[in-house]
């Protein structure tokens, strides 16, 4: 979370995410204080939320109160607080996925669950709302855990330099269980290695039109095609984010495969494995530096769980919804909507009311059309008001006039240096246009942007958290990464050449792109 510079100081702006009304309606339904307390056991909560442009905003006083409450709990309970909370989140994720599997497998199967479609949708919504309660709380908990970690390191490494302490703390921020995004990239590289090792003539594939390659692989390479299909099936949900977009298909996988085949996949996998080994060794050294006590081991384990949970919790939301896709297709048909994606622009309350026959297709269509162009809402305790869209004013140019002195500062996500061409990634079109070797500059990385991450030689994000998605992925693949620059996406332009010094957490513009690029 970064402070909303220059506007209402009473509000804190969360990182920009392509939230949809349906997703937000799960989130904000869980934001009432009592519900959060019930589901998380933490006396924190947000009664006021609003959305401006693409950013969610929370009341500064509520965030402060929540932080205060968590700090007090941490002082009283120590590491057990974080462990309990993580366990609660993990079991909540598991329960939600299980529920979605039960409800979603048979599209029109009242017989399968003994419930009507309306009941199944209601049940899914209830489960999502219960699960959503900890979304905002989770981020605050992570911040608090980092504070706990920093203090623990300071207490146990008397005489060490600040830099050494930083190194020890960083080494503990390693997810032991690879998250979906990392598995996604690793397995794509394995597909690439399979091609490079077993397919004669694959070197020519880079010159073949991708549309032809899809057909040729499907008809001539049965084993490879089966692997591609299985990959697409398992990671199809990653193609959508926040319930919109298209799931990844075998054809998309072939296009991504074309990109990774430009590299030596065996070498890339070897580098990733070496990097992983080095990280694990560093983690061991860090635990040793902290005295190799049971307490240090315990802290490292809890930290690792948070690193995993950070992305897993959001992934579970998308995976579960993908299991429900057939149900929502039917809901869309029943309500007279044009398709599955339309349901993402309705709040769950809208869908429930319409299924109960309390609203007309035309009302729903108006909401969908209105919100597709952008939306704002104001959620207060117990009530959500969807406001008419206010066209956002063009943001003032933040670009420095003197490119040579334009330096951005952030936080080191993964150390290293790289100089290259900027690619601002705001949508799927940008992901496709990205060339291997460019620097990925984005508000935040998302599962649906993995195709861009795997092409990137460095990553720069607006977003802040040390436990963020971008950090996780960049560290796994040893890609220099600077996070929390605040406004890199506004100050840089596609085509700029920048020098990313991730170790120093700076980004310097070497040469600006031509103005019309």
């Amino acid at each position: 979370m970064t402070a909303d510079r220059g506007t209402d100081a009473e509000w804190i702006t969360a990182v920009a995410r392509p939230n949809t009304p349906l997703f937000l309606s799960f989130l904000i339904s869980g934001q009432e204080r009592a519900k959060i307390e019930e589901h998380t056991g933490l006396p924190v909560g947000f009664t006021h939320i609003r959305r401006r442009g693409i950013r969610l905003q929370y009341r500064a006083d509520e965030i402060a109160a929540a932080k205060q409450a968590i700090t007090e709990l941490r002082e009283r309970r120590g590491l057990a607080l974080f462990e309990d909370y993580a366990q609660r989140c993990l079991s909540s994720c598991a329960a939600f996925l299980r529920r979605a599997k039960q409800l979603g497998i048979v599209a029109d199967g009242a017989a399968a669950t003994g419930a009507s479609r309306e009941e199944r949708v209601d049940s899914y919504f209830s489960s999502a709302i219960a699960h959503a309660t900890f979304l905002q709380t989770m981020i605050l908990m992570q911040f608090e855990l980092e504070t706990f970690l920093d203090e623990f390191v300071a207490d146990h490494t008397a005489g060490e330099s600040e830099g050494e302490r930083r190194r020890i703390a960083d080494a503990l921020k390693l997810a032991l269980e690879p998250n979906h995004e990392i598995v996604n990239v690793t397995e794509l590289l394995e597909l690439g290695r399979f091609v490079q090792e077993t397919v004669p003539g694959h070197a020519e594939w880079v010159t073949v039109d991708p549309a032809d390659l899809i057909v040729r692989i499907a008809s001539e390479f049965p084993e490879l095609w089966e692997r591609i299909r299985s990959y697409a099936e398992r990671f199809g949900w990653m193609g959508r984010s926040y319930y919109v977009g298209s799931p990844t298909t075998s054809a998309d996988v072939v296009l991504r495969l074309c990109d990774v085949l430009k590299d030596d996949c065996t070498e890339r996998l070897r580098r990733a494995a070496t990097n992983r080994e080095r990280q694990l060794a560093e983690r061991e050294r860090a635990i040793a530096a902290l005295g190799a006590t049971a307490q240090a081991e315990h802290l490292a384990a809890v930290m690792s769980t948070y690193m995993h949970l950070r992305t897993y919790r959001l992934d579970v939301f998308f995976m579960a919804h993908e299991l429900m896709v057939e149900v929502f297709r039917e809901v869309a048909r029943q309500l007279g909507l044009s398709g599955y994606e339309d349901t993402a622009f309705l709040a769950w309350q809208d869908i429930t009311a319409a299924l109960a026959g309390r609203s007309e297709t035309v009302e729903l269509t108006e909401k969908i059309v209105g919100r597709r162009g952008g939306f704002e809402f104001r959620a207060t305790a117990g009530a959500t008001e969807w406001l008419p869209t206010i066209p956002s004013a063009p943001s003032p140019a933040k670009r420095a006039t003197d490119g040579a002195t334009d330096t951005l500062h952030g936080v080191t996500g993964c150390p290293g240096q790289y100089t290259g061409r900027v690619r601002i990634i705001a949508n799927a079109e940008d992901v496709r246009a990205m060339e291997p070797g460019e620097v990925l500059v984005t508000t935040m990385t998302l599962p649906s942007r993995m195709a861009a991450v795997e092409k990137a030689r460095a990553i720069v994000t607006d977003e802040g958290g040390m436990l963020s998605h971008a950090v996780l992925v960049s560290r796994e693949f040893n890609i220099p990464c600077v996070i929390g620059t605040g406004d890199a996406t506004e100050r840089l332009r596609t085509g700029d050449i920048i020098e990313v010094d991730a170790s120093a957490a700076t980004v310097r513009v070497v040469s600006a792109a031509a103005p019309d690029e």
Binding site: P210, A211, I214, V215, P222, S250, A251, L255
Partner: protein, 303 residues
């Protein structure tokens, strides 16, 4: 005439499949319209006509009679043996299409389509597909039509069957050597990625190219091309076209020229303006079907 033919083929071997290149296949009453047109094109376009085999009309009628009167165990093994004997292993499997002698008659237009079964691999499945085609001439709908129109009170007719090696089409579509809407002397192409079945059924909006008599592309219309059918070892797969590929034309100018050249060659050989189904695979143009353009039909984009 018909009964004589039946006796002839019965005396020979009722269930022999002939290669399309066999000169007898060039006669419509022997091989049906679809197969005969392709057979006539073999000498002109030897590389563009997929390898194919024909179950002649007479043999098809025999098969239909046996299939109606006798248990499958009596004639199925014979059919399967004939198929295994005639057809080499084809990695992409076969397209099994009915090839009726009355292709362009009112019956056909009423019945919509005689059968086509795509991507059949196993000889047993080919046999089933052949039967489906043979029976399609006596479907309930066609019989009902025949009864209602009083044109024929028989049990219907059995079309000949064309068994083509499947082409793993990278692009495919249709081509008309006369503009199907305006009647102008222009060649009109519709094209989509993958196999042509979605395009022919009207399920996708293809790209359209209009080419004048001098071979110049005078008009292109970008279609939405949301879906494509891909031939894999598991059969046909309907996939969404990746977004980056939708927004560009699926044919290069050189592809357009190659398809137009094939269509013009068909027109020259057959002697009439053609409505041709084509496919491109590995930089080769294949002609899957060529028939006369019958009158000025509807917009090719909505066939």
């Amino acid at each position: 005439m018909r009964s004589e033919q039946r006796q002839d083929s019965a005396r020979a071997d009722a269930l022999t499949l002939l290669p399309l290149a066999d000169a007898r296949c060039r006669a419509t009453d022997f091989a049906g319209g679809k197969a005969a047109a392709l057979a006539r094109l073999v000498p002109t376009l030897p590389d563009a006509i997929p390898s194919a085999w024909v179950l002649p009309s007479a043999a098809a009628r025999d098969l239909l009679a046996k299939a109606s009167d006798a248990e499958a165990t009596e004639w199925m093994p014979e059919l399967q043996t004939a198929i295994e004997r005639a057809l080499p292993h084809h990695p992409n499997g076969y397209a099994v299409r009915s090839s009726a002698t009355d292709e362009d008659s009112a019956v056909r237009s009423f019945a919509g389509q005689y059968e086509t079964v795509l991507a059949v691999r196993d000889p047993g499945d080919v046999a089933e597909a052949v039967l489906t085609c043979v029976r399609s001439g006596s479907s309930d709908r066609i019989r009902a039509y025949r009864r209602a129109s009083g044109t024929d009170d028989s049990d219907g007719d059995a079309p000949a069957v064309l068994i083509q090696g499947m082409v793993a089409a990278e692009r495919s579509g249709v081509a008309f050597t006369i503009h199907p809407v305006t009647g102008a002397r222009q060649t009109v192409l519709n094209a989509n990625y993958g196999l042509g079945d979605l395009l022919v059924s009207g399920a996708v909006t293809p790209d359209t190219f209009v080419v004048d008599e001098l071979g110049r592309i005078v008009q292109t219309t970008l279609g939405t091309k949301r879906r494509m059918t891909v031939l894999s070892h598991a059969g046909l797969e309907d996939l969404p076209v990746p977004e980056g590929l939708r927004e560009r034309l699926c044919l290069l100018d050189s592809d357009v020229a190659a398809v137009v050249a094939a269509a013009k060659a068909c027109e020259g050989q057959l002697g009439f303006a053609v409505d041709m189904e084509w496919a491109i695979s590995r930089e080769r143009v294949f002609v899957l079907q060529a028939r006369p353009v019958t009158g000025l039909g509807p917009d090719p984009g909505h066939r």
